[in-house]
Amino acid sequence: MAISKDNVVFVYRNNDMGSSTVAGHYSDKHGLSPLQLIGIDCSDTEILPNYATFLSEVEDPIKNAVHGLPFENTWVIILGYNVPGGFYDGIDIISSTSRIARMDHTYVKGENNPLYDRKIFQRFGSTELGKAYVTSRIDGPTVAFAKNIINNGYAAYNQKYCGGKLFLDPYTDIYIHANYSDPYGTGENYRDELLNFEEIAADVLNINICSTSLTDPYLDTTISKLIHDGFYWGSIISDGSNTFFEETDSQRLFFYNVDIDSAFSVRTISNQYWCYLALNNDYAACAGSMSEASYSGLLRPKPFFDSLIRGGTVGESFLYSCPQLNWTIAFFGDPLVTTQFPFKGTVPFVRGIPTSDVDTYPQSYTTVVEYDRPSGFPNYSYEDDVNHGLPGNSGVIDEGLSGNQWQRVADYTGEALARASESSTDLEIAYNAIASSGDVATAVDLLYKMGILNKRFNNKYRSATFSNLCRGVMLYGTQKFAHEYQTQTSTRIADMNFSLTDALDSWNVMMSTLIMEAVAPSIDILTRNEQDNFYTARQARDDGELDIGELKYRQPLIAETKTTLSSRDFYTIGNKYSSLSMSPVLLESEYSDLIGIDRINTSGVWDFIFYLQEEVYDFVDYHFRLQVSETSDFSSILYTLNSSEDTSNWYYEKLPEQYAVIPDDGVDTRFVGRRIKYRETIHTLTTGVLYYFRISQIIGDTVYSARTFSKVINA
């Protein structure tokens, strides 16, 4: 269930006619029930002197009231007219909206927001509630001013469509202003983030963007005024004025200016405070700092607009784009406002900043994989990330899902082969033990029966049983890729000439050696007749045609003249052999041509892939401990691999389907729902043996409960 008016409570100041009037106005607009209006006994001071005062006057009364309500779906808290807007903590001013968002948690100034920029998007709901509330403030110098904020929000709420321009200002003062620097970044870094956002915003939002550009590094370039604006995201440090806001023919939706006092007061009629000015000029919502925020605390445009695009309200979008809570950034306006963009859909708006440190190595050796995303998350896909759930984006090739789907089919096949191989080995040992026991009674009673059982699993039988399936799996990969390519590019299949290697390269996946061996088994396990057929076929190949006349089939062989076989070639050859009831021998040249050697798994190496799950409701860094055992009770552990001790071979899904090495500090909360991968190349495991894998997430010194998986090594 998405946020609606049923999730809102509006807080007003008791015994304050103006405050209750504004609350009533909001209630009338949205149809709130009386229970959704909460009166508290507080002063009308805009900034309280300290946290203790704020706690007693504002926080505790609101918390008690919310938790005392007869319903539990309060997600949004609006602080009304004359309710305190913040409090001092040293030289910092903490905004009420930022603190109340985390009122169910101990006050820690400037703590990281656990809902900030999550890499798997999810609309605000009961799961998010344990971490933070959506909060907002509707206040001003007069009752009429506050009511006008509500009116503008309600107009935007009903308009549901964005027609205004985005004014984006990466270059004004922040470029040279040192106040934003902290240990994690500088104003220049923030400028780069805005530029990065600008690169993709035009295509994703499909609205006009007016942006500043750098003409002279010693001169500010600035936006002189806003005309036909819907959004403003800039960094003007100097005072503003009402004349900055010229006429607009569309609803003004959200305004954010990066400075040190935009939100210091909205009750003071002053050109100094940009939030006041924005609200006074009909913006439905805005945000700003009550005091200096620094680089780490500044709002980020990418998660903000990403949330809006996906249907998030402006209130939850603000929350998702605010890196820190219990901090100085304040949010004003109606948090229920939503909007829609004229989505064009040609460029992925990937949740994460593309960088060069992502890795595109092959997806799988033997892969122990947790297929299901943690409960509570929507079904996530790369396609979702590209489409934002909106229609009209048909040109995107969904590489990750296709590869994963084929990989699962190939894995099931490889595992079956591996298990059969293991069983075959054991039965052969048992058979030989009986035969060599020297006891006649044992041999008489058991050798025949054990021999029959042994035959059911031996190499020859396995090859004959699985060869058609394995050939089908390989052909399936090629056809599947060709089909998708055709669908997405409107190219006729007849005009394509793909090989399985093309598909695996595109999907970045690998195939078990066991599948290849089943398709093209070693010549020495064939019967004499099958060997003869093989040599006949090879001779035909050498002669330029596949001459197997005694089997009523003649056709020129194409393998010699091509470096790769197309799906149709493969299909033809495969069917030919199949229809002739011939052993599924592929000629040696075809064997190597069908699939590049770098797409065949190396024996014994393995991957372990799992989803990062949430362990706590705070913003934390996770490390991981992976243990491997041959026994299900882990009484004997072969390997213990801990990312906090060595991040080598540990990767996280930084971008959808793309992995980067885990940072030394671990993987933070934002990546919950994304995948973590361990790739092993040194501690190889034995093919055909069932192993147990146990993964635990670690925060600091705390090791959380493990998840256990098992897998037969199939390479």
């Binding site: 039965l427 033990a433 009986i434 044992t442 029959i452 059982l453 089909h483």
Partner: protein, 122 residues
């Protein structure tokens, strides 16, 4: 008379064969489940259908009467050999300190040769 070591090797390999049988059958069903979701499988005569059909064939091969009968006959032969040449199976196991796998004990029990819990691997 079979030695304790050979008995253990045989019973373990039979158990593994049975488990493998089930494992392979399950995997084949999983393959069919994956391929079933392919929309283009319905309209084209293609490799998806080939995979689906072959997985079904292997499932039948590993999940039907034939393989199970072979396994059961091997278990019967092994246990009858002990009964004929040694005596009660549980005595043979305990006196030779043999612990069989749970799968083998279940197979044996189903055939009327009950194995005491003390002779089964934990």
């Amino acid at each position: 008379m079979i030695s304790a070591g050979v008995y253990k090797i045989c019973s373990d390999s039979i158990a593994l064969a049975y488990d493998t049988n089930s494992y392979i059958a399950d995997n084949m069903l999983s393959i069919q489940g994956e391929v079933e979701e392919e929309s283009f499988m319905i309209t084209n005569d293609n490799a998806a259908q080939m995979v689906y059909k072959e997985a079904g064939n292997i499932y039948v091969d590993f999940n039907t009467y034939g393989n199970k009968v072979i396994i059961n006959k091997t278990v019967t032969a092994l246990q009858n050999h002990v009964l004929a040449h040694y005596g009660p199976i549980n005595d043979f196991l305990s006196e030779n300190n043999i612990k069989v796998k749970l799968t083998f004990s279940t197979l044996s029990d189903n055939l009327g040769y009950t194995i005491d819990s003390g002779n089964i691997e934990e």
